[in-house]
Each structure stands twice: as structure tokens, then as C-alpha cells.
């Protein structure tokens, strides 16, 4: 999850400045986000994807300020 491009991200700006100070002038910008790892059961990949999508919309992500994307991978039974 990251803040939408239109939303100011002071944390990202601070990280950019810090990286510049440490000698990484090539860094043009930073967006700080959140990473959430969910372990869940599902009948199939499609089922998992639609449930996770719903979770993101209902709780994990605030659509006013944040964008999200997710990947589903199998971890075995």
C-alpha cells in the first residue's frame, strides 16, 4: 500500500533527503508504503484474490489516501 501520488508524503521526502546526505544523489524520489503479509485458505487463486481485494477495500487500505496492489502465492497445505 502506498499513498496516492497526489498525497504529500513527508516521510518519503525525509528518506530522499537522508539518502542524498549519504551520497546517493541518483535517488529522485521515495514513496513510503506499508507491506502486509496475509496467510489465508482459499479454494483457488481467484477466490483468494477476490477476498483479499475486499479486505483491502474494507479495512486494510483507506481509499481516500492510499492505493494498493497485491500478489497471491501458494504456500502449500
Amino acid at each position: 500500500m502506498t499513498l496516492k501520488p497526489v498525497v504529500n508524503d513527508p516521510q518519503g521526502l525525509a528518506v530522499t533527503q537522508g539518502l542524498h546526505a549519504l551520497g546517493y544523489p541518483e535517488v529522485l524520489g521515495t514513496r513510503v508504503g506499508k507491506h502486509i503479509q496475509l496467510t489465508l485458505t482459499a479454494r483457488d487463486r481467484q477466490g483468494a484474490e477476490s477476498r483479499v481485494e475486499e479486505m483491502c477495500r474494507r479495512l486494510l487500505c483507506n481509499g481516500v489516501i492510499e492505493d494498493f496492489h497485491f500478489q497471491v502465492a501458494e504456500v502449500g497445505a
Partner: protein, 739 residues
């Protein structure tokens, strides 16, 4: 089990001698788990084996004292059935490793000590030490520690009302993070950390038990190396939200007859909390480790017994009333498990998977340690340095420049950069906010309130640790006095280096003796405390740093004067004794030299008399402003009074400056026992009368007014320049990069 190797014993912080002492007392060879438990409880942190002998000099006697040292926190009586519970504790080493979490869990720990007594925490304070802010790594550490202190207090909703921060290159390697908590409890709800009643169940509540905080290197980790399992980090991560729920649940239970005893799980985890509770009650405890909720799979009994996972409490509950106690924790969505019971035998018995895995008699585990008496000696160069001139000729600044530099020193300057990151008002009771000589928290439904301050010894402690400790106590008393508060009792945190170095042991002995003398002289019982030794990095010890927290009472929380001058034309008085001493002063530090010369003058009898007189003047509201002279001396105190009141002042000092110090001592000397008061022109008579009756020197030195802060014939600075210097001190230093 085979005799452990010296390396294995070192991992447990046990000496060969201590091991043999354990074998002798037990009449058998302890197993690994037992050895781990002994190592933890016989550590300096739990047993005070090095400092205990010295600490016995500190008196906890006084009619106001309800509970002295030895419990989770000290308790004093505020009258009408209300008790005040407080303690200060260090979290230096964890903060050096991970400043945010180290500082945060330090706050979490001291809060648990207070609510374990049934008291609702109403105030937090911090005492911090860092290296110089010109160093980016120190700025980083400072910023992160402040963030950590704030994070925990802000989340849990206890105001951080005051503190003290000092920067000196001597703390470059070892930052100090001391946190103090003050709580309130009515007498019937006061809890004790005691186990009683054979057959009563023992509950573990709060967070699950994980591998965090187990002594970085332990006996088990020796095995882990052999078994090639991953060594876990020792950093604890605090969960203030969980602790908030834990606190509310425990406070709900305080006063219930179902609860026998309550103790927080701090250093050495379950081992120390169960051992100490049982020892106090003259009973034993049997624990079944299978009942302990764990955060990780595969934890050994050793890890469970020594885990220092945060936000856990141990309860002893009346038999048959477990469900009503658990219902409270359930409501707060907290885990609670019966993990053991009280037994008659004075032992800690630990079982796991149906087998008894440890069985230790409590007299051995808690009190069987070997007291240590390391050698001490005063270093030769200290004697030499004491007689050296404190500030040699060649000060590169004019008096004005020195004055402004002192005002802009992070040690003297405005500390709002720090406290604006702390919620200091939650509770609606903070009536004197941070940034003043002391904070005041009102007592609901009463006219009076608590005045609270923390103060520590500064550089002069290096030369004379005895005097340094006394100066810290004197300063704390002055800070309370400025608000008209009567000091009630003291808590202390002794931060020192490795006591096996003779010079450090000497510092510790001297400082404790000084503390004892000052507390006796100023009638301050010592009700709680903490010792933090081994603050060393690469063979360099921190300067001796006793920190004291003092709680006092102001009779009326309305109209308490501040440090700032109130009206042009008011008279300025200097109360107290001589103060030209520059040994160990802030000026000396700014000049970048060594700590040299005799430390500031201190007359404890005069200090006490001055405190009485000033308190009377403040309480009668004769004094319209009151401020004490501390770091930076009279000149800095005067400028602070001017800046706070947005009013200039003209001051004349009687003694003509004498070369070679050109008045440096007069302006910036840090002699103890001095106050600056301002009164209305018509109150000069009363002012002088009170001081003369109290046999306290008092000089009318000037008048409030104008745009300058002027000390006639010596120096003058514009009010605006003084204000700017003060404001920029810390904030300006923190503008640089922190990475």
C-alpha cells in the same frame, strides 16, 4: 550435570566463586535452568550485590512514608487517604542498542511498576544524557530516544510532564535514559507484590511470552550455538496499546478482595517476579510452564523462565475467584492463564511436560548471592584537578558572547523541541506545564497538587562525586521551592560505570554517601531507587551520574508564580549564598576544556534555610516570580526570567569583578542555594523581613524593565537576542542531518 566451563558461567554473569557458593548452599549441582535462574537473580540488576551495602545509608524514614524501597515503587501519604506512588528507573543499555524501543520499553516498565501498586499513573518524567549534538550520530540517538519516550507515554495516555536533558561528550558512547513515573492510589486500593495463601492460583496476564529480552548471551544460547540454531536479538519491542489495556484491567481489580498480590514481569521475567513475590510472603510457588502462552514454537523452559517479554504481569488470586478476575481481563481482550499455585515450601518449583525441571529454595535464589565489595580508590589526578584553576586566562569571548553562547547551549536552552513531542496534558490535571523549574499535577477535588522534578549531577561529579550528588538533591529541592512546593520524598537512579574499576567504585561510594547526607540534611526520605552499573564503552566509563526525582506538595495550585518577570518596576532580589565557582560549570564545558577546579560551593544548611524562606515568599505570593540559579549561573537565570516574562532588567552586583576572570565567576559561577525573585515595589520590606528571619542572605540587585538584560558595568544583551539564543539552542542543533 558437569561443572560448567568458565565461559559458560560468564554467559550467565556468574563467577566460579558464585557457582561454588550455589553448589554449597543447594547441597547439589544445579541444572542448566536452575543455573540460569540463579545467574539472573544474582545479577547486579536484581540483587544489588555490589551497591546494597552502600544503599543502606539512605534513610527511608519519615512520617509521610507508607512504603519504602523493596517493593515495585515507593509510597508516601498525601493526607485524606490519598497515596502517591513513584519510582525512577534506567533503561540505558537497551536504549543504546535500539533508541526508540529501548526508551519506549523503559517507560513501559516504570509504568508497570506504578500500576502494579494499584496506582493510576498521572505523570511521567525523563532524565536523558547524550553526547554532543554537533555529532550526527548523537542527534540521531537523541531524536530517537525522545521519539521512543513520547511514543509510549502518548499512546498509553499518561502525560510526560517534565524532565531533564544534558549533553556532554562524556556520554558519547553511553546514552542514559532514566524514566520516572508518579501515580495516585487511595489507601484501600494499594496493592503489594506478594504471594500468600497456600493453594491460591498464580496467573500470568498480558502479552504472550516470546524469546525477546533473554539475556543477550545465555547458557541456552551456548547450546544454541552448538545446535546451530539462530541466535535471537535481545531487543524488546513495546506494545503501549496492550499495556494500556493491561493497566486499565489491573486498576479495575485494585481494591478487589479477589486479588492477593500483583507484580510486573520485568528483568529476569517470570523467574524474578515469582521468586520475589513468594519470598516476600514467606511461601513458595509451583509453576507449570505448559500453561504459559507462547509467541513462538519450540521455546525451552529456560527461555520461558528468563524471557523479558514486555507487558506481562503476575497475579496471585484468592482460590475460587479466578473466573471473576479473568472476566476483567477478557473484557479488555487480554490473555490470562493460571500458570501455577502458591505452595507452603519456600521454593520455586518449575515443571514442564509433567516433569519437575527446576526446584530452588527461595532463600538461596533471592538472598543467597555473594555480596561483592570491589576495591575502590580515588584517582590521583582528581586530587590534582580539584586544586587547578577552573577557567584559565584566555577565554576567547567577551562577556556578552559568553552569555549568549551559554543561553544557546542545549543544556541551558529552551527544551520545547523535546516536550512538544510528549503529550503533557492528557488527564486534564497538568497545571504547570513542562519548561518550568518543576511540573505541577493537581489533585482532583483538592486545593493542593503534586510538584515533581528530576535532576542529575553534572560535570562536577567527576571531580567530587559526593558534592555532585548533593548538588543534584539541592537543585531538585530548589526547583520545587520555586513553585512553593514542600518536598516530600525522593527516588534515585544511580548511573555509573563498571564497579570493578577502582575509580568507579570510589565514585559510587562517594555519591551514595553524598546523597545520604543531603537527604538527611534536607529531611527527604528515599523511598525507591534503581542502580545502573556497567555504563562503559571501550574501557571508558560515564561520569558518575546520580539522578534524583523528588515529589513535593504545593498547598494551592492556583496562581503559582513562574520564572518570568511580571511587571516593569518590580524589584529583583538575589537570595542565597556565594556562587562564583566555575569548576565543572557549563561555561567550562563550552570552553571545551577538561573538568577542573573545585566544584560549586554548597552549604546544605543554608540550602535548607533558603528553601524555607523562598517557599514562604512564594506561598504568600509575595514573590511574583521565582527561579533558581543553576547551569550558567546568575546571568543565565536572569536572562531566562527576562525572556519568560518578555521584560528586560537592570541588575547591579556589589562585588567588583577581579582579574583574571573578569567577572566570569560572578556572572556564570554555579554555586548552589541561589534564587532570583521579583516582587512588587511595595513588597520589598516583607521580602527582606522573611529572609532575615530565616537567616538567609538576600540582596536587592535590580529592577525589571527595558529592552535589555543588563548587569551594570559588566555586560548587557538585548532581550530579543537572549530570546533567540534560548529558542535556537536545541532546535537549531537539531536542524542538521541525523543520519
Amino acid at each position: 550435570m558437569a561443572t560448567p566451563s568458565p565461559a559458560q558461567l560468564r554467559e550467565l554473569a556468574l563467577t566460579e566463586e558464585e557457582y561454588q557458593h550455589a553448589v554449597r548452599q543447594l547441597g547439589r549441582v544445579p541444572n542448566q535452568l536452575e543455573l540460569g535462574m540463579l545467574g539472573a537473580l544474582w545479577s547486579e540488576h536484581c540483587s544489588y550485590k555490589t551497591s546494597r551495602r552502600l544503599l543502606s545509608q539512605l534513610s527511608s524514614k519519615g512520617p509521610q512514608v507508607v512504603v519504602g524501597p523493596g517493593e515495585n515503587a515507593g509510597v508516601v501519604d498525601l493526607g485524606d487517604g490519598l497515596l502517591c506512588c513513584f519510582k525512577i528507573e534506567s533503561h540505558n543499555h537497551p536504549s543504546a542498542i535500539e533508541p526508540v524501543q529501548g526508551a519506549a520499553t523503559g517507560v513501559g516498565g516504570i509504568l508497570r511498576d506504578v500500576f502494579a501498586m494499584g496506582a493510576r499513573p498521572v505523570a511521567l518524567l525523563d532524565a536523558l544524557r547524550f553526547g554532543d549534538l554537533t555529532d550526527a550520530a548523537q542527534r540521531h540517538r537523541f531524536a530517537k530516544v525522545v521519539e521512543g519516550v513520547g511514543h509510549y507515554g502518548n499512546c498509553i495516555g499518561v502525560p510526560t510532564v517534565g524532565g531533564e536533558t544534558y549533553f556532554d561528550p562524556a556520554y558519547q558512547g553511553n546514552c542514559l535514559v532514566n524514566a520516572m513515573c508518579v501515580g495516585l492510589v487511595t489507601a484501600p486500593r494499594l496493592l503489594h507484590a506478594v504471594a500468600r495463601g497456600v493453594g491460591n492460583p498464580v496467573l500470568l496476564v498480558g502479552a504472550d511470552t516470546g524469546r525477546d529480552g533473554i539475556h543477550g548471551a545465555t547458557f541456552a544460547s551456548v547450546q544454541l550455538d552448538e545446535g546451530a540454531e539462530e541466535r535471537r536479538p535481545a531487543v524488546q519491542v513495546g506494545n503501549p496499546f496492550l499495556e494500556k489495556c493491561l493497566m486499565e484491567a489491573c486498576l479495575e481489580l485494585a481494591g478487589s478482595s479477589a486479588l492477593v498480590g500483583l507484580q510486573d514481569c520485568g528483568a529476569a521475567g517470570l523467574t524474578s517476579s515469582c521468586a520475589e513475590m513468594a519470598r516476600r510472603g514467606g511461601v513458595g510457588i509451583r509453576l507449570d510452564l505448559d500453561q504459559v502462552a507462547r509467541r513462538e514454537l519450540g521455546m525451552t523452559p529456560y527461555e520461558v523462565m528468563l524471557s523479558e517479554s514486555q507487558e506481562r504481569m503476575v497475579l496471585v488470586v484468592e482460590r475460587g475467584r479466578v473466573e471473576e478476575v479473568r472476566a476483567v481481563f477478557d473484557r479488555w481482550e487480554l490473555r490470562s492463564d493460571v500458570v501455577g499455585e502458591v505452595i507452603a515450601a519456600e521454593e520455586l518449583q518449575i515443571s514442564s511436560s509433567g516433569e519437575m525441571v527446576a526446584r530452588l529454595p527461595l532463600p538461596v535464589l533471592v538472598d543467597g548471592f555473594l555480596p561483592r565489595h570491589p576495591a575502590s580508590s580515588r584517582p590521583a589526578d582528581v586530587v590534582r584537578d580539584l586544586s587547578a584553576p577552573p577557567v584559565t586566562a584566555g577565554v576567547p569571548w567577551t562577556l556578552e558572547e559568553a552569555w549568549l553562547r551559554l543561553l544557546a547551549s542545549p543544556n541551558c536552552a529552551d527544551a520545547s523541541w523535546i516536550y512538544r513531542q510528549y503529550d503533557h496534558q492528557v488527564g486534564d490535571d497538568t497545571v504547570v506545564l513542562p519548561g518550568r523549574d518543576a511540573a505541577v499535577v493537581r489533585l482532583r477535588g483538592r486545593r493542593d497538587g503534586l510538584a515533581i522534578t528530576v535532576d542529575g549531577a553534572h560535570r562536577s561529579s567527576l571531580l567530587d562525586p559526593r558534592r555532585g550528588a548533593q548538588l543534584a538533591v539541592a537543585e531538585a529541592v530548589r526547583n520545587l521551592t520555586c513553585l512553593g512546593a514542600r518536598p516530600l520524598a525522593l527516588t534515585n537512579c544511580l548511573n555509573f560505570g563498571d564497579p570493578d574499576r577502582e575509580e568507579v567504585m570510589w565514585q559510587l561510594e562517594e555519591a551514595v554517601a553524598g546523597l545520604a547526607e543531603a537527604c538527611r540534611q534536607l529531611a527527604l526520605p528515599v523511598v525507591s531507587g534503581n542502580v545502573s552499573l556497567y555504563n562503559d564503552l571501550s574501557g571508558a566509563s560515564i561520569p558518575p551520574t546520580p539522578v534524583v526525582g523528588v515529589v513535593g506538595v504545593v498547598d494551592d495550585v492556583h496562581g503559582i508564580p513562574g520564572p518570568g518577570f511580571v511587571a516593569a518596576g518590580d524589584l529583583i532580589y538575589l537570595v542565597g549564598g556565594e556562587g562564583a565557582g566555575l569548576g565543572g560549570s557549563e561555561l567550562q564545558r563550552l570552553l571545551g576544556g577538561r573538568v577542573l577546579g573545585p566544584p560549586p560551593e554548597l552549604d546544605l544548611e543554608l540550602e535548607g534555610r533558603a528553601s524555607e524562606a523562598v517557599r514562604q515568599l512564594v506561598t504568600e505570593r509575595v514573590a511574583r516570580s521565582a527561579h533558581d540559579c543553576s547551569l550558567g549561573g546568575l546571568a543565565v537565570a536572569l536572562a531566562e526570567c527576562c525572556v519568560e516574562g518578555s521584560l528586560g532588567a537592570v541588575v547591579r552586583l556589589a562585588d567588583p569583578p577581579t582579574p583574571p576572570d573578569r567577572g566570569l565567576g560572578l556572572l556564570f559561577g554555579e554555586g548552589s542555594g541561589r534564587y532570583l525573585l521579583s516582587v512588587e515595589p511595595g513588597s520589598g520590606g516583607r521580602m527582606e523581613e522573611v529572609c532575615s528571619a530565616g537567616q538567609v542572605p538576600c540582596f536587592r540587585v535590580g529592577e525589571v524593565g527595558g529592552e535589555l538584560v543588563e548587569i551594570v558595568g559588566l555586560a548587557q544583551i538585548p532581550l530579543a537576542a537572549a530570546a533567540e539564543a534560548r529558542l535556537k539552542g536545541i532546535a537549531g542543533a537539531m536542524e542538521g542531518p541525523v543520519l
